[in-house]
């Protein structure tokens, strides 16, 4: 396996980003609907339907409503979904069916830049989604400012992490239908067991330990801390986890894609 070197990467990566962005912009009206509507649906369902049964819960020494508790979880899940689905299904279609990467390889771009550009774009989608969601949720009064503004750089970091994870899957799956596997075994368990919908303390000890290995757990921890202004030392640990994981997984994703495509 050939690891990418910094000398292989140039600003040309942004051309790939630009390509994807210009196509996203063509249908922005449709792309904007899910991040605007989804939080409203969840807040309605959980805030009206479920919260009455759950009541309040304690977080950071304060009593908060159940809806307030899950709002940062929703944002974190959106970061994960937007980036991961972009570099799995969408990148796979561009690579395999549309031969977009083939076309780009006949230009001054190299494969490393193309893959990096794809991941940057996927992270951008997370940022766009989080920005829109945050507006809606803030208007409903669930988030505190200015801490909530930190969700945007957090979306970039988490987006890059999940973009890299998705790209690694793309580099490894034989066909597009195989993405079901990492989704079923990785994404769905994370969605449920990363402290998104209930405090991790509710889980048995061994499961709490396991959850500490999941990237979404740390994303949720940071998102909740920032948007609800509950500052603790744990946040630094989670940030370190995300930074280290991202810095490892980004080059790994590039290397695996190079291994897949270059024969």
């Amino acid at each position: 396996m050939k690891w990418p070197t910094p000398s292989q990467i140039s600003a040309r990566s942004l051309r790939v980003w630009q390509r994807n962005f210009s196509i996203y912009r063509q249908n922005w009206k449709i792309s904007f609907v899910p991040p605007l509507l989804e939080p409203l649906l969840y807040i309605l369902a959980f805030g009206v339907g479920l919260a009455v049964m759950v009541g309040e819960l304690e977080y950071g020494g304060e009593k908060i409503s159940y809806t307030t508790f899950i709002a940062p979880g929703l944002v974190s899940v959106a970061i994960m979904y937007n980036a991961f689905f972009e570099t799995t299904y969408n990148s796979f279609v561009r690579m395999y069916y549309q031969k977009t990467f083939d076309a780009l390889l006949a230009t001054p771009l190299n494969l490393e830049e193309i893959i990096l550009g794809e991941m940057l774009w996927a992270a951008t989608k997370s940022v766009i989604a989080v920005t829109l969601m945050t507006c809606v949720i803030s208007l409903c009064g669930f988030f505190s400012f200015p801490g909530t503004l930190l969700l945007i750089p957090l979306a970039l970091l988490g987006g890059l992490l999940f973009a890299a994870l998705g790209m690694i899957c793309t580099a490894l799956v034989p066909g597009i239908e195989m993405f079901n596997l990492p989704i079923f075994l990785g994404i769905t368990p994370m969605f449920l067991f990363s402290g998104t919908f209930f405090p991790l303390q509710n889980l048995p000890n061994w499961a709490q330990v396991l959850a500490q290995f999941l990237p979404l757990t740390h994303l949720v921890t940071l998102a909740r801390g920032c948007s609800l202004h509950v500052w603790s030392g744990d946040l630094w640990f989670s940030l370190l986890y995300l930074l280290v994981a991202t810095l490892l997984l980004l080059p790994l994703a590039i290397a695996l894609m190079v291994r897949r495509i270059v024969v």
């Binding site: 040309r12 051309r15 630009q18 390509r19 210009s22 196509i23 063509q26 549309q98 031969k99 977009t100 083939d102 076309a103 780009l104 390889l105 006949a106 230009t107 001054p108 771009l109 190299n110 270059v262 024969v263």
Partner: protein
């Protein structure tokens, strides 16, 4: 200095040797052909020229630049029309050209000017706003070719540009390529259509199993290796075979058909039709196809 220099180029896929020591060069302003049946190694060779596929060994120089050192510069100055369509289905015809120009860092106004010029050249103006999905195979190929020219390349590389096209589209593409050649563009072309090679190529190589079998100018090669003309005889009988044996002709026996290679004139043909029989006998000029089939054999390929 040649525009492109290829020396002892090799490529293996596992145990399969796809390119087995190919050497040739392309001079400025010429159209050079890489002819070969399916699986001969044409695409593998082309892909190594622009770094898509790493080579196992051999030397590659484009514009005098070593490919390992100057790949970006090389890619900036060549145009590649790949065998498979790789147009962007999310963009319109015109935006495919403008979008592609971005990868070459061509400023937007200049890109728009070139896109419109190329749409005109390839008679695509009326389709400028169409999506790729609705285009026919011939239109897609024209757009692929237009896209390969958007960076005003000094060397145009075409991998089977007309495979699968209807005769009308093929004729149009040939006209356009001939026009580009006249403007002084250097072209490297792979094909297995002999008519294409005869019409466009100044020089060519015939490759099979990753090796070059012959190199030269098409007309001279045919004259040298096949002869002046070919006499085709359907349903040959014994008296006819005896006659050909007496005349000591070069005969290729395909069972129900004989091919007789003649070096000059039509005396033998006249004698045959006068003395033995006339029906089922046809005299035609020797062509590249005769040479190609003689060299690469008649058995079917993948």
């Amino acid at each position: 200095m040649p525009i492109l220099k290829v020396e002892s180029l090799r490529k293996n896929y596992g145990t399969l040797t796809a390119v087995d020591g190919i050497s040739f060069d392309v001079q400025s302003g010429e159209c050079f052909g890489l002819l070969g049946p399916n699986g001969a190694g044409k695409t593998s060779t082309i892909r190594m020229l622009y770094g898509y596929t790493p080579r196992d060994s051999g030397l590659l120089e484009v514009f005098g630049l070593d490919i390992d050192k100057g790949l970006r510069e090389i890619k900036r100055r060549i145009g590649i029309c790949q065998q498979e369509d790789s147009l962007d289905p999310d963009l319109s015809v015109r935006d495919n050209l403008i979008g592609y120009a971005r990868y070459f860092a061509i400023p937007k106004p200049e890109a728009e000017r070139r896109a419109d010029e190329l749409l005109g050249f390839f008679a695509l103006q009326n389709r400028a706003k169409d999506k790729i999905m609705v285009l026919s195979g011939g239109l897609k190929r024209r757009l692929m070719l237009a896209r390969a020219l958007v960076n005003q390349p000094e060397l145009l590389i075409l991998d089977e540009p007309t495979t699968g096209l209807d005769p009308q589209s093929r004729q149009l593409l040939w006209e356009k390529l001939a026009e580009l050649k006249k403007q002084g563009l250097t072209i490297l072309l792979t094909t297995h259509y002999m008519e294409e090679a005869e019409r466009l190529c100044d020089r060519l190589v015939i490759v099979d199993h990753g090796r070059i079998l012959v190199e030269g100018k098409p007309a001279a090669l045919v004259q040298e290796r096949v002869g002046h003309s070919v006499l085709e005889i359907a349903d040959p009988d014994q008296p006819l075979r005896d006659f050909l044996a007496r005349e000591k002709c070069r005969v290729e026996d395909l069972g129900s058909r004989l091919l007789v290679y003649l070096d000059h004139g039509d005396e033998l043909f006249l004698k045959l039709t006068r003395e033995v029989r006339a029906e089922g006998c046809m005299l035609r000029p020797a062509g590249l196809e005769d040479l190609f089939l003689n060299l690469t054999g008649r058995e079917l390929r993948e």
